[in-house]
């Protein structure tokens, strides 16, 4: 127990340093080590007589690498180790490539391929390097800003109010609903205290909550009750029995469960009426009407009834919208998850843009050792106020948190890949 507390205290003490000018150099450190290595390799290969590619064991490449390593003047051990690792990866990849293809294509072409691919890799890194600048000058022309804003607009838009955000989300739902959903469904798992009495915290959507949202959507479409619209006389809104929704998920209802159920309901735009009904909030009713998720029917008694006709995304996007609007109150887990998604999409988008699909060095960029040097800082950079504007203090800095990136990368979905393609197309335009 003691050690645990110590750990978190140490974490806190580091927090005061989290300024833009602190994080950007950290982000650039490794990139500025990678790029020269690629550059010098390109120069060396360019100067080589391709005939040596026919040498059986390609010892020459090893010799060159060892020569290059000797020139290493860096004094920071971690960095020189990283550089050595990076360089040897590059040479390994080249060797494998040469051995694989030398029987099939001419040595001179082999050389051209390698030089081209190195050139692309250098280009990609130089984009990553100048993705933004230290004093954030010409902010709206920097890649980081433009890309964050572009992706944000699709899956986590900003807006002056809920209605605005909801509209934006819905207009992108056709192609990217799965991404929008993925952005809230954290696969990482932290045990954290969500019920802080002082704050209203929005957590990610767990599989169970996802099913509850699912149930609510279906029940509204199937067999809703109707009750008076408190804010507007002569109108009726659809209602569900709270128990119908939550009963399958709760063993016995006590105060804590009541509260949890109400919290979940609130995040999907519902409220509890008369202690037993779940009904859409007044402002949500407006929203639903606007997007024809409610239909007006005039009853025989002259009362106007709002009949629900929800889609799969109706309630889910409300959750997204509210999370986006109140992004200062997202749970730690969700902040990490969202920024990780952004960082990955930006990173992969740039790679996709600059590297051809068959680039032999793609592997190095996707290597976890490279990922963990770039993504964490990209996450932080993209969380700053001008960008995503999330609480970057919640982004974890420990070794453990970096490991979560591995989980995250393992959980990618097809639709995210489509978004990455979209982003790389966008890069092309700017």
């Amino acid at each position: 127990m003691m050690s645990k507390r110590k750990y978190s205290e140490r974490g806190k003490s580091g927090r005061s340093r989290e300024k833009w000018t602190d994080i950007l150099p950290k982000y650039l450190t490794h990139i500025s080590h990678m790029q020269p290595i690629l550059k010098e390799t390109r120069r060396i290969i360019n100067d080589l007589d391709p005939i040596i590619f026919l040498e059986p064991e390609l010892d020459i490449l090893d010799q060159i690498r060892q020569e290059e390593e000797k020139r290493n003047t860096r004094t920071v051990r971690a960095l020189s180790e990283f550089s050595a690792m990076y360089r040897s990866n590059i040479y390994e990849i080249m060797k494998d490539f040469i051995i694989d293809f030398r029987g099939k294509i001419e040595p001179i072409e082999l050389k051209d391929y390698i030089v081209d691919h190195l050139y692309e890799a250098v280009k990609a890194l130089s984009i990553l390097k100048k993705i933004t600048n230290p004093d954030q000058r010409d902010l709206d022309k920097t890649f980081l800003y433009l890309l964050v804003k572009y992706i944000e607009e699709i899956i986590f838009p900003r807006g002056s109010n809920l209605e605005n955000i909801y509209g934006k989300l819905l207009s992108n739902a056709k192609d990217f609903y799965e991404c929008q959903r993925h952005l809230l469904q954290t696969h990482t798992f932290y045990r954290e205290k969500l019920r802080d009495p002082e704050y209203f915290t929005i957590p990610g959507i767990s599989p169970k909550v996802y099913q509850i949202i699912n149930t609510v959507t279906s029940l509204f479409n199937l067999e809703p009750n109707y009750g008076e619209f408190p804010e507007r006389s002569n109108y009726e809104i659809p209602m569900l029995l709270k128990n119908d929704v939550f009963e399958p998920y709760i063993e016995s209802v006590a105060h804590a469960e009541e509260e949890a159920a109400e919290n979940i309901a609130e995040r999907i735009g519902l409220r509890v009426l008369d202690d037993i009904f779940l009904a859409p909030k007044a402002e949500f009713v407006e929203l639903l009407l606007k997007h024809s998720f409610l239909r007006e029917i005039t009853q025989e008694d002259g009362k106007i009834r709002y009949v629900p006709q929800f889609s799969n995304e109706t309630l889910f996007l409300y959750y997204s919208a509210i999370a986006s609007l109140r992004r200062g109150f997202l749970s730690k887990e969700l902040v990490n998850w969202i920024s990780m998604n952004f960082a990955l999409v930006i990173y992969m988008g740039i790679l996709k843009w600059k590297l051809s699909d068959d680039n032999i060095f793609y592997g190095i960029f996707k290597d976890l050792q490279t990922n963990e040097k770039i993504l964490p800082y990209l996450m932080k950079l993209s969380s700053f106020p001008n960008y995503l504007g999330m609480d970057k203090m919640k982004i974890r800095d420990s070794a453990q948190y970096r490991k979560e990136i591995f989980n995250f990368i393992g959980s990618q979905i097809d639709n995210l890949q489509e978004l990455i393609d979209e982003v790389s197309n966008y890069c092309e335009k700017i």
Binding site: A173, K174, N214, L222, Q309, Q400, F406, G410
Partner: protein, 559 residues
Amino acid sequence: MSILDSKWEGLLEAFSEGLELAIEELKNKDVENIPGAKDALLDRLNVIKIQFTRNKGELFERVIDNTIQNAFFPDTSNFAEAFGKILKSRNHEQDFIINELINGFVTSRTKAIASYDQGPIIDRMVEAFAKRNDFHIVDHQFYAMFGDPNKPRSHIEKSLKELVNLFGLVSEEFEIDRDLRRSEKKKYTFYTFPPDILKILQEKYIIIEKEKGIFVKALLEMLQNSKNAKATEVKIEINVKSMRFIDNRKETKKNDDTEKNGDYQYEQFKEKKLQMFNLGKIIWKTKNWIRDIDTKNNIDTLKKNSRQIEGTDITIIFYEENDDILKKEYEKSFRNEEGKKFKEEYLLREAISNIEISNMKIYINSDLYEDIEKEIELDLSVYKREKNKNLVYAHVSEAFDRNVFICLFLANIAVNRNNLQKIGGSFTINGISAIFALIFLLSFMPKINVEKNHPILKNPSFNKQKMDIIPKSWMMKQVLEPLFEPLIKIIAYRLGGGRWLNQIIASEINKKIHNQIRFLIKDVNKWILGNLCRVEIPIFVEISNIFAEVPIDLGINED
């Protein structure tokens, strides 16, 4: 009538009664907003009632045994076969179903195998496998990637062990005497998929690269040298004890230098090393030099030859201990079945098959080598090769994702269906049966046509090619409840016999599970503007096709 038969009859009867109840309820209530939808559903339920109880529920057997089980829960005791079938039924939408099958367990509380905090573990597996290039996870690497500094090592050790059991991985230990860091003895454990599973994955999910053995490599090097030196003809005499390698290589440009400086060629020639040196005693003749090499006895002499020869002439007398190495290498190349020729020659042929010999003629024991079998042993067992020390490189392809593991997980449950303890007991059984019941019902829902100007047709999320509008009233509690339970029982009985059936008791907890599952498979059973739409994925099409065949079949029988 046997007890089994009577039980089955009883289940069918209960289903029939349930249907009647559902039909009654449906008649009393109308929640549909598309004209004709309710009638279409009523008609369909009536047809189901007639058709499915016929011939001792023959149709049930076809739908559940042949179609649903085949795609998601194969009835076999062979793990690899089960996995292969589930994997085969994957596509973008059916992945959602496969995912829901897992989510179904997640909802069935922590007792089930895949509890929530194990969810990310599947992601971990994907990453751990993707990271290495030999399709293995190593325990130490796994600890390094996923260990938690706040938790003792035993925690992550346990978690890895659980994973290994959960997915049925196989392990192999590897001990090194001195590790790099502390020069201590260290034991690593490698985990990989069982060989049969690897074989299935090979087509799409993992890319196997074969590493050549030393003998093949050495041969390849010699051939490559001849090729580089523009030889047009290579003659190789090979037998168990020795090999003679003669080519007619042209002299390289260095020739001029040699004439000017006699020592130059000596140096060139002397320095040149072949991998073959390690395999036998060598007499290497080229131009007017003879080089004798015996690495084992540290002999490497060079003398002038009185006779000048064209090209190169290398004779190798294999060391005796090579026999074992070659034997192993030969076994690894899995050509034992051919029998007649001796192993050296096979290896030689393998080496040649790895090189482009377009303008080179190669004679093996005076026969002209013909390039016939380009596809070198793709069907080899990866695991077996692996045992013989890292001969295979395998890495995962883009397609490799978490669903591969989910398929593996399902396959594991499918083959262990009789071991209730292992698969998570009542929760799993209720979960699986209920989801299959949903798939069953969904497949038989009739399509509804709407007017051309119906708003749903204009909705961007409605895909006319892939989706159909179906009646939504079947999902009403009053209709589904009487239908669902007997159907779940029927499915449980077909899946796991009496043992499974006994777990579907009408307990409160089971009712809750069924209620939770009622609205699952949301991604293929979508709500669009209040209308229920079915995404026409293969499993639904396949099941409904069975139904479409039936009336015709029956018609013929009656004739």
